[in-house]
């Protein structure tokens, strides 16, 4: 079982694209901690200075649109951000986030209910999101069964290893 995720919310609007999550000039970096120093730099240059480990990014629709750069979720994770809650995610970002182990949750009610600075706690298994500041509880959309099975298997890498073993026999 994964531990609960807990931290303060940093709230943004819709269409937070990968160019602002990690600007192109940093895409020649592959070290997660180094990438983490520039997370959200194009949108909120003070984010990494202000945030504390465990904090949660909250955003409206279409989070992560644009480029397929996997360094976008890697940068968010590398910054110490514990999760992203959005009304919806762009397709490639969604796959990338799950593949690299950045917890992401879809919940319109959470996004509408949470304000910047609220203290948030997320139970990754159940998808229950608690707003400790406002004493409210929200639910994240369940992962589709296939995604759930990938997550439960430990991500795409163990899944591929199993497929490779099957093919070898």
């Amino acid at each position: 079982m994964e531990a609960k995720l807990r931290g303060h919310a940093h709230k943004y609007g819709r269409n937070v694209d990968t160019d602002v999550i990690i600007p192109g000039k940093y895409c020649n970096i592959i070290d997660p901690a180094e990438l983490g120093k520039h997370a959200l730099e194009g949108l909120d240059p003070e984010y990494t200075g202000r945030m504390q480990a465990g904090d949660v990014i909250v955003a409206d629709t279409n989070f992560g649109c644009g480029s397929s750069r996997e360094v976008a979720p890697i940068a968010i994770k590398g910054s110490g951000t514990s999760a992203v809650i959005a009304k919806s995610f762009a397709r490639i970002f969604y796959r990338n986030a799950l593949n690299i182990g950045l917890p992401i949750f879809e919940s319109a009610e959470a996004v509408d209910g949470i304000e910047s600075g609220d203290e948030i706690e997320v139970e990754p298994e159940s998808g229950v999101i608690r707003n400790i500041t406002k004493n409210a509880t929200y639910r994240a959309a369940e992962f589709p069964p296939f995604m759930r099975s990938l997550i439960d298997a430990g991500g795409l890498v163990p899944y591929v290893e199993r497929r490779l073993a099957e093919k070898a026999t």
Partner: protein, 427 residues
């Protein structure tokens, strides 16, 4: 009940009679693409996978150095070297280094690596470009690409399809780029998320291959998983000139089910411009030029508009003229072959004589990497595909997206200009 073109290709690649939107399938891939940025991360992931010491098929992987090339700095050089060493170690057949390739999406079709009915995944969001050839092609992140390197398979959710039906003949100075900008404006940047876009209609039947490339390339700008055209005689002739590999031309069934059908008449379409800071903030040029918008940089190039047809349009407009003194013009032919063709036709000399800087092929300027980065307060008009905050450099810069003709006209006038008034501009 019939299947869409995307469903047909996916069904064949997972050995099923039929597939339906929402279904998760495990599909075999015909080609896996990566550039030095996505490859560097993917190679690291693959090295950590038990049982994945070799790629599934060295002839079905294409590696192209194009983002930070020629290397911007030591860090960028290291990523390119990592990919080059991997290519040598794995005996990758299709490895394109600086001077022998160019922008991945320009290079792959040129080299005959894309054919109708194929399934292609790439570590770059503009992999959807190959839909221009009737292939299913989609962009993915590096971990998915590592999985495809190792397995030759990917898992996919079958997307529902949106059918776009274009009618009408484009007016003067209206190009595929204008049609696609209008389309992105209409759909919105998340209007096709998780969907396939299937392009139909008399307008696109008449389009050149490069026009279709421009349109398929920007399917991702509406959030789409892929954008696809039916292959026709033009497509088949283009592909057969470049490869002997057999391929299967798929067609959507007459009774295929589409989530939406949208008709777009372009008979009265003006040149279009995507204004800052999203590619769906699209307006007709006559609206945009109501405001005087002086420009600091004009950029011609990219996987959207870095083709020989695009350079011909620009050269025709700039021939015998000088670009305005208040701006700089940077031109990146999309590939080494495009560069050589443009040299043969005298286009590079025409552009240089007009005051343009002609670069070697690469993605740098388009994504704010290098070789054309914008500074604070600068305004650019560009033939590229994205204008998000900071896309081409400073987050305090403004990017307008337009066709090569609109960019060339703006280069002469020094401000964002309607290419249909070129005679006026010249006088």
């Amino acid at each position: 009940m019939g299947m869409t073109l995307t469903e047909k290709i996916l069904a064949r690649h997972c050995g099923l009679e039929r597939v339906e939107p929402g279904q998760i399938v495990n599909a075999t891939v015909d080609l896996v693409l990566a550039n030095e940025l996505s490859a560097a991360v993917a190679i690291g992931v693959m090295r950590g996978m038990k049982g994945a010491s070799r790629v599934f098929d060295p002839s079905r992987i294409a590696l192209v150095a194009d983002h930070f090339v020629p290397a911007k700095d030591a860090q960028s050089a290291m990523l390119a070297k990592l990919m080059k060493d991997f290519a040598a170690e794995q005996q990758i057949e299709h490895f394109f280094d600086v001077g022998r390739g160019g922008i991945e999406h320009v290079v792959l079709p040129e080299e005959g690596l894309v054919a109708p009915g194929e399934l292609i995944v790439g570590g770059d969001s503009h992999t959807c470009t190959y839909g221009a050839f009737g292939a299913f092609a989609t962009g993915m992140g590096s971990t998915d690409i590592a999985a495809a390197f190792a397995l030759g398979e990917v898992w996919l959710k079958v997307p529902a399809s949106i059918k776009l039906v274009y009618s009408g003949k484009p007016g003067p100075m209206v190009y595929a780029k204008d049609i696609m900008l209008r389309t992105v404006g209409e759909l919105g940047i998340d209007g096709a998320t998780y969907r396939a876009i299937e392009y139909h209609g008399t307008t696109v039947d008449e389009l050149s291959i490069t026009g279709r490339i421009t349109m398929a390339n920007m399917a991702i700008e509406a959030g789409a998983k892929n954008g696809i055209f039916h292959a026709d005689e033009k497509t088949i002739a283009y592909v057969k000139e470049r490869t002997d590999r057999p391929f299967i031309v798929e067609r959507a069934d007459a009774d295929a089910v589409y989530e939406r059908v949208i008709s777009i008449d372009i008979g009265s379409l003006e040149p279009q411009v995507a204004c800052p800071h999203t590619p769906d903030n699209v307006h007709p040029i006559s609206e945009v030029t109501r405001e005087d918008l002086p420009v600091d940089q004009v950029f011609i190039g990219s996987c959207t508009n870095g083709y020989i047809d695009d350079l011909r349009v620009v050269a025709k407009i700039l021939e015998g003229k000088r670009v305005a003194s208040n701006l700089r013009v940077i031109v990146n032919p999309g590939s080494q072959k495009v560069w050589m063709q443009a040299a043969d036709e005298g286009i590079l000399t025409t552009l240089a004589a007009a005051g343009c800087a002609v670069n070697t092929p690469g993605c740098g300027a388009c994504f704010g990497g290098h070789m054309g980065t914008l500074g604070d307060g600068e305004r650019a008009i560009s033939t590229t595909n994205r204008n998000y905050v900071g896309r081409m450099g400073s987050p305090k810069a403004e990017i307008y997206l337009a066709s090569p003709a609109t960019c060339a006209a703006s280069a002469i006038a020094g401000r964002i200009t309607d290419p249909r008034v070129l005679e006026y501009v010249a006088s």
